[in-house]
Amino acid sequence: MSHLKVEGLSIDFGGLRAVDKLSFEIAPGTIHSIIGPNGAGKTTLFNLITGIYAPTEGRVLLDGEEVTGLPPHHLARRGMCRTFQNLQIFDRMTAAENVMLGRHLQETTGFFSHLFRLPAVVAENARTRERAVQLLDHVGLAEQADTPAGSLPYGALKRLEIARALAGEPKMLLLDEPAAGCNAVETQEIDALIQSVAEGGVTVVLVEHDMHLVMNISNHILVLDYGKKLAEGTAEQVRRNPDVVAAYLGQQADAEAAHA
């Protein structure tokens, strides 16, 4: 059974159809990339899948169950987590606290235990913190654990978001341009990170502009253009698809030519 199934999904923003009757499936434990030119509807699709927008029509099924229109925190309970293209960081919290928040659903103590600071809360705080520091170490931010997140550089925040998303032990992780603004070395690190996450059995859905990264690690690629599916398949299939070359890669070639 597919991990995520999208059927005829559409959303209108005041007459403009940002995502148009989109259907696709994502198999468990794979890396699934969504690519397309700017404005193709990739981030909107993420927002639809993660419950931030309610679709105008269509359905989203997670593990075969319909989850269309469920709010994000319900989807989180079903093992879905994501990062954001234009960062959503808790600026006034430290890096460690950002990741600790990511373990919200793993924390089991209740309000009254918090209020009276029962020993269970102290122990839980320590456990959460320990796991958060491990994850920060995993993304290379252990040194900055107690730095206010608002003062970290952009590349570090990208990785902090990934650490926070991983903290929730997701079964499906959606990454919105994790390598944007990162240099070649950082991109390579993120590449390795994503692969290791997928090897751990997590389904990864990736929106990314870095074609090198996408072609390298994706099991499956979905190409969007103007909110519609342009092509779908393995890296090789997509690369050879004439429509894709015309609409997207060609465009990028133009851009690169203009750049050079």
Partner: protein, 316 residues
């Protein structure tokens, strides 16, 4: 050991207790003790309100309404329903908590200025109710409050009330600091910075806003009850718009998101008018000018500004 002392929950509470003892010993007469009690009662409200405004980022311009309801609970319940004065504050707190819980969800769905308006409206409705239902509340002139008795002993002296206020304030601060350093506190701070990221991480944002709202309302109610029992008299002004605004100013003045800052804000704003009375008719102009100046030059609030200055001195 020193790290343990630097923790707000330990060092901060100890320091607060020490200041309380020092004030008691140094106060030359009952007038100062009276001001200190007023400060303590306002500080209790501010500590809770700070959780809502400073930590969770949800403004309320109506918390005096909850304070007023608490105050009238200890006035009305014993007279009209025969509730013993000692139980009235707690009954009031439960009723206010329930009321806050019922309105919290629709109100806290609102954002920014709309939230400010809705809370302001709620506060004003409470004020109008207290002013106009004079058969229960004595109307605009207010009503007398039956004195508190514990084991038949009448609790009315300043010393008694100073002790009670200090204990309750310390307790409120302790509970609030506990909340802040817990998953609840992290969820509140997170939803302040990015509601969406908090939701995606599994935080039921609406639920946590409700928690902060109800918690702060109940603290306000308790402080209101205590203030009524202490002064032996209540008037609707306690629930009025100006008192709501004063409470928010205390939070911001002391430093949003700083529990001890809020106490400093309460101390400054409660005692300032007492000292400004020497300026007679210029009192309001000076108060307004001080408020503007502090907010313009120390926009993060008094305590954060003081801590920054101390840190800079240590570094240099």
């Amino acid at each position: 050991m020193s790290a343990w002392l630097m923790q707000p929950r330990t060092g901060g509470l100890l320091l607060l207790a020490a200041v309380m003892v020092a004030i008691y010993l140094a106060a030359p007469n009952n007038f100062y003790l009276d001001v200190a009690i007023q400060i303590g009662l306002n500080a209790m409200v501010v500590v809770g309100l700070n959780l809502l405004i400073g930590y969770a980022g949800q403004i309320s311009l109506g918390h005096a309404g909850f304070f007023g309801l608490g105050a009238y609970a200890s006035a009305v319940l014993p007279v009209h329903l025969g509730v013993p004065p000692l139980a009235a504050p707690f009954v009031g707190m439960l009723v206010v908590g329930l009321l806050a819980f019922l309105v919290a969800r629709p109100v806290l769905r609102l954002k920014g200025h709309y939230l400010a308006m809705a809370t302001l409206g709620l506060g004003l409705l409470v004020f109008m109710l207290l002013t106009n239902e004079s058969q229960f509340t004595g109307g605009p002139d207010g009503m007398a409050v039956e004195r508190l008795r514990i084991f038949g002993e009448r609790i009315s002296g300043k010393d008694w009330w100073y002790l009670i206020t200090c204990v309750m304030l310390l307790l409120s601060v302790w509970l609030t600091l506990n909340l802040i350093d817990s998953p609840t506190g992290r969820a509140l701070r997170a939803l302040h910075d990015s509601q969406i990221a908090a939701q995606v991480a599994g935080v039921d944002v609406a639920r946590f806003k409700v928690i902060a709202f109800v918690y702060s309302a109940m603290l306000a109610s308790l402080a209101g009850s205590m203030s009524a029992l202490y002064s032996g008299f209540v008037t609707p002004d306690k629930a009025g718009f100006l008192h709501s605004i004063e409470l928010v100013i205390m939070v911001v003045l002391g430093g949003m998101g700083s529990t001890f800052g809020g106490i400093i804000g309460a101390a400054v704003l409660t005692s300032l008018p007492q000292f400004l009375t020497v300026f007679a008719e210029y009192e309001h102009m000076i108060l307004g000018a001080i408020l503007m100046a502090v907010m313009i030059f120390l926009r993060r609030g008094l305590l954060p500004a003081i801590l920054d200055a101390l840190r800079r001195r240590r570094l240099s």
